[in-house]
Amino acid sequence: MAHTIQHLSHDLYPEPGQEHATGVPVPPFHPTVAEEDATVLSNMAVNAQYWHLVIQASPLAAAASPGQFYQLQCPPAHGAIPYLRRPMSLYGTDTATGQIQFLYKVTGSGTRGLSTLVPSDTIRILGPLGKGYDLAGHLRHIVVIGRGVGLATLAPLAEAAHMAGIGVTAILSARSPELIVSADRFNMKGMSVIPVTDTQGNSDPAWIEQALRGLISADRCDALFTCGSSRLLRMLRALAVEFDLPGQVALEQQMACGLGMCFCCVRDFASAHGTVTRRVCLDGPVFDIRETLA
């Protein structure tokens, strides 16, 4: 990494009381998003597809809420040198210690590079980024529905809801039972977990829809929270409309900057003013389910 770690690059910032060239005292700059070299604490395969990465970062970087994400600079692997950074959801954070967790699936050059990280390596990160899930508004019981690595995004949300005294039902979908990686993270007192898998034959959106209708009629679903899968999203949007339920989804889109500068991550949304284009990185990645299109 050629990058200077963050505090070094602040060396020459005018300190409070210092004078600018113009003679006017310049207030010091306080970033609200961190660009820094974090240190890898651990990076381990949790099963055949997913890896769990824990890094040591600054308190500023770790001050994230569920649904937010980071841009990670992935090291070269197998001759491929990832140029752009890769977006990864917050999987867990400890603001006190500055530790941040990610759960990722190895799919291409970037994530393959990530999987080569070993403890004490440095990794350049930018974050926390974007708008996370919103748990405001007198929610009593929510349902989180995710599939595959999408559970990475939902796990900290479920925990946050639990801490806020909101009941959580988690419908965790995967190809097969051993790929439901974060089941333990949803295993808190009072949380109910419904695992559904392709191998068990109950992961079909239709099956999940039935389960949801049950929860809704039992008054155990004030809001829906999901992530990623468009098949599930379509079904959830229909339900949200039918029952006038609030719902939030974390979307994915290819990203170059992660900061709203490049406009590569745009997506169309329904809004009161007709179809509008929004940047997933800045306006999301969490959006109102009913505004999503496609």
Partner: protein, 311 residues
């Protein structure tokens, strides 16, 4: 501390580093101290509202990236009413990048943005994505003369003209821009490129072709900066693959008065301030008191020397 100020014609910038058009947004202000930049350059705007190109809009390449964002624009009215007030918050000189389909359109738009709060206009006469097959004004001297003359007649603001690397002799185009009244040339926009997904047999960009930027293009744009700087008397602003302070020094030695940083900010949000800090250290270590002294300070090529193991 090194004197970082540079003059672009009559416009004084506190530092020689600024963002490249289309690679800056106020999101960056969350990470980096915008006040340290020499200027802010906006994403190119058009008169009308525009949608931009189909997705995917970016693709990664070796040492760089392709983009075919297009010029999604909220239109000039929205820009003036909503974006502009936002961009003046830091007190940093503001450069508005504009584009139009013809010379008259450029002039109209230049007139519209020649208002308080705008410190210069950057005419993007080089965007390779708008016209079919990547054609642009800045590919030909005549078209350049025509559009720059129309712009010059339309505004009293400092006029920067951004050239395209997709031409066979940029110094001719730079001279045309200078003769028609440009106050500076920006060298350069992206290089037209392409990438194919061999799994799907489809282009990786929705627009098929797109502009290559990032470290990979540095040697090419640096060469064009050198050629232009030797050909015109107006300032040349270098832009292409600048990632480190060393890159910025290379551009300045080749003749650039200031530099713009684009893609590097996507990979390191502190790229611009890191470069500023590095420039300061570079000058300090060599007892260079003014960063402007680097401009054009390139020496002759060395005569053949053999390598030596002497310690």
């Amino acid at each position: 501390m090194t004197d970082m100020s540079v003059m672009i014609g009559n416009l004084r910038l506190d530092s020689p580093v600024m963002p490249a058009s289309g690679t800056f947004g106020d999101g960056l202000g969350q990470v980096m101290d915008i006040r340290r930049l020499g200027a802010i350059v906006t994403k190119t705007i058009t008169r009308e509202r525009r949608a931009g190109n189909p997705l995917p809009r970016v693709a990664e390449t070796t040492g760089g990236m392709l983009n075919a964002i297009g010029i999604p624009s909220c239109g000039v009215e929205d820009f003036i009413n909503r974006t502009l007030p936002h961009y003046t918050q830091w007190g940093t000189p503001l450069i508005v990048s504009i584009s139009a389909p013809d010379a008259a359109g450029f002039a109209t738009l230049a007139r519209a943005v020649s208002i308080a709060g705008v410190d210069a206009i950057e005419a993007n006469i080089s965007c390779p994505n708008i016209e079919a097959d990547g054609k642009a004004f800045a590919m030909e001297a005549n078209a350049t003369t025509k559009v720059v003359a129309a712009l010059r007649a339309a505004t009293d603001l400092p006029l920067w003209v951004k050239l395209t690397p997709n031409c066979h002799d940029m110094s001719v185009i730079a001279r045309a821009a200078e003769a028609a009244g440009a106050d500076a040339v920006v060298v350069a926009n992206t290089i037209l490129g392409m990438s194919i997904d061999t799994r799907t047999f489809r282009p990786r960009l929705g627009n098929v072709m797109g502009g290559l930027s990032g470290a990979a293009i540095k040697p090419i744009i640096l060469r064009q900066t050198y050629q232009c700087a030797r050909s015109v008397a107006i300032p040349v602003i270098g832009c292409g693959g600048i990632t480190t302070a060393d890159d910025a020094v290379e551009y300045m030695l080749a003749g650039a008065v200031a530099v713009q940083v684009g893609t590097a900010s996507f990979i390191n949000s502190l790229a611009m301030t890191d470069i500023l800090d590095g420039l300061d250290r570079f000058c300090h270590a060599r007892s260079i008191t003014r960063v402007a002294a680097l401009t054009g300070a390139l020496r002759d090529a060395t005569s053949p020397r053999c390598c030596d193991m002497d310690a």
